[in-house]
Each structure stands twice: as structure tokens, then as C-alpha cells.
Assembly symmetry: C2
Homo-oligomer: 192 residues x 2
């Protein structure tokens, strides 16, 4: 069990509907030391890939993404779910459905921040059905940028997200892979 899996085992809880609650250190309260370590892991994995930008989606993706950007020494962009009055540039937009929030959001990035020469690392807190990661990849494609990798903090491997992303040709690296949340128990994939 790695450092993150231990933490999930100790502090995560399983709610009805296969929902894993990790609000003690990731999705509401954030353990910055843990995020730093997570950022270092993603950076180590993708170090040789000449990453030029890290992108994520607000809000829970921001903490792991900024530490990844710090370790790689590249800018981080967080896609926005709500348009701010300062977003008056040309926008790249796509629709993302969140199964945990039960809403479809229009997710956008100012087009000036992504160019065809960018090698992008997509970072997100959870991979379940893959909708957020696919949406972010779509924004990159619209900009002509290359998605060089996808780094996920917690993957629900029993849902369809990873398969979907791999079929689309993406290199997916998840720090914790969960095989099952049945009977309120967290079971990790043993082979990694």
C-alpha cells in the first residue's frame, strides 16, 4: 500500500452509491504536505515528457495540480465552471457532467493559455466515469495542444473512466486505484 492508499484506508469513508469521501485531506480540507508529495509523484512520472502546462478543473483538482506544476516548473491552468467578468478573451468551452454533483457544467479555458506547441499534463482528483478528464482533453484538442498524460489522484477502477481514456489513446497514471467499494470497504487493485 502506498502513502496515498494508506491515507485513504485510514481516513476515507464509503457512502451509499459507491461514493468515496476523502474530505479530510483532498476535497474539502486539504493536507498540503500530502499534496506536495502527490505533485512530486506526478512530476517524477512525467518528468521526461517535456510537459509545458498542467491543466485541471476547479475546485478539488487545484491543490494537486499546483504542486505538480511547482515540481515540473510549468504554469498550471484551472478550467472554470463559472464565467468570471475578467474572462473576456476568446474561450475554449466544453460540457462536463458530474456524477457526484448531478449537474452539467460548461467548463472553459481562455484560448490564449493553450497553443499547438503545448504538451499538457491533465491532473484531477478523481477518475470515475472519465467525463472531466475527457472534457479537459477536448479543450486541449480544440487548442491544437497535445495531451501528453493524465494524472489522477484516486481512480475508481470499477467504473468506466480508465478504459474510456485508454481507448482514446491517453497515458493514464493513477496514484490510488480502487477495485471495489462494496460493503463499505475500500479494496485497492493489487497489481499496479
Amino acid at each position: 500500500m502506498n502513502f496515498l492508499e494508506k491515507r485513504i484506508q485510514q481516513e476515507g469513508s464509503v457512502l451509499d452509491g459507491n461514493v468515496l469521501k476523502v474530505d479530510q485531506f483532498l476535497t474539502h480540507q486539504v493536507d498540503a504536505q500530502l499534496m506536495q508529495k502527490i505533485g512530486e509523484e506526478f512530476a517524477a512520472k512525467f518528468q521526461a515528457k517535456n510537459i509545458t502546462k498542467v491543466i485541471t478543473i476547479e475546485a478539488s483538482g487545484i491543490a494537486p495540480a499546483v504542486f505538480t506544476g511547482l515540481s515540473l516548473g510549468v504554469p498550471v491552468i484551472f478550467a472554470r465552471k463559472q464565467k468570471s467578468v475578467t474572462m473576456e478573451d476568446e474561450l475554449l468551452c466544453t460540457e462536463v457532467y458530474s456524477y457526484t454533483k448531478k449537474v452539467t457544467s460548461t467548463v472553459s479555458i481562455s484560448s490564449k493559455f493553450l497553443t499547438p506547441t503545448d504538451n499538457v499534463l491533465v491532473i484531477d482528483d478523481f477518475l470515475a466515469n472519465g467525463q472531466a478528464a475527457l472534457g479537459l482533453s477536448e479543450l486541449c484538442q480544440k487548442a491544437g495542444a497535445t495531451v501528453t498524460g493524465i494524472g489522477i489522484v484516486i481512480e475508481k477502477s470499477f467504473q468506466s473512466g480508465r478504459e474510456l481514456l485508454e481507448k482514446a489513446g491517453f497515458d493514464v497514471y493513477s496514484l490510488a486505484r480502487i477495485a471495489s467499494l462494496e460493503n463499505q470497504q475500500v479494496q485497492f487493485l493489487t497489481e499496479k
Copy 2:
């Protein structure tokens, strides 16, 4: 001019309605190195105050807050504007009006993360009318926690926020204080 003011001078732009756009390094694209330095500044300022928690509000407050939490070695909580299905605990809630987004949001924190023994440092990206900082302070008060300080990345000193917060008795520390955005020019307060 300090490191942040220089960056604002170089990369910020002024939009109609006294709006300062800093989406190159803070509100949309994030410079993680800069955020680390900002976190270290806040930590140095409040080091002696026995801070036990850093709180902020999603989304642009998260990057400066997590680096502050890292430097102080304490957990960071980001208040949420939208209820997630994993937020099934008792919530502390308040209403916050955003002048830049022109919407009122219900902002909430799970009550289990704030206790009467907490000394809280509130961190936010902007201080204009003070509504977000006041809202976060209200959540702390509801929990019986003490707001020990408020750290702001960019203060619009020509708006009412600082006065409001100081009148309420808070120790406000802003890294960049803007005296005026008139004629599309950023003028900083000279005395600091």
C-alpha cells in the same frame, strides 16, 4: 515595489469598472512558484500567532492558501460554493455576494473541521468589498473559532473592504495594495 506588485505591473490589465485582471498568474493560469512565495510571506507574517487552520474559498483562493498551509504546517479548508454529495455532515453556511461574478453564493464548511480551539488564518486572492472575508469569518464565529488574521493577495484599497474588516477588529495583511485603477493604470499605495 515588491515581487507581487512588479508582477501585477507587468502582467495585470485593467478592465472597465475597476476590475483588475490577473489571469496570467492567479485567477485562471497559476504561477506555482509565485504562489509558493506568497504562501511563505503569509506564513512569515503570522508565524508567531499559533495558527491551527488556514481557510479560503473556492476557487482562486485555493492556490495561495495551500502554500500558506504548507509553510505553516497546518490543514487548509476551502469553503464550497456548491454542495457536493459527499457533504452529508453538519454544515456551517453563510451567503456571500460576489461583485465580479454578480451572484450570491451559499458558502459552506463542514462543521467538523472547525472547533472553538482553532486559531484561523483566512486567505483570499482579492479584497474589494470584503464580502468573502466577512463570510468566512462568520463561518469561524459560528464554529466558535477565532479569526487570528486575514491574508489577502491583492487589496483594492480604494474600495470599502479593508475598512470594514478593520472596524470588525481583524488583523488584515495584504501583499499588494492598490490605490487606484483609474485611467487603466495600476497605482499602488506608497506607504505600507
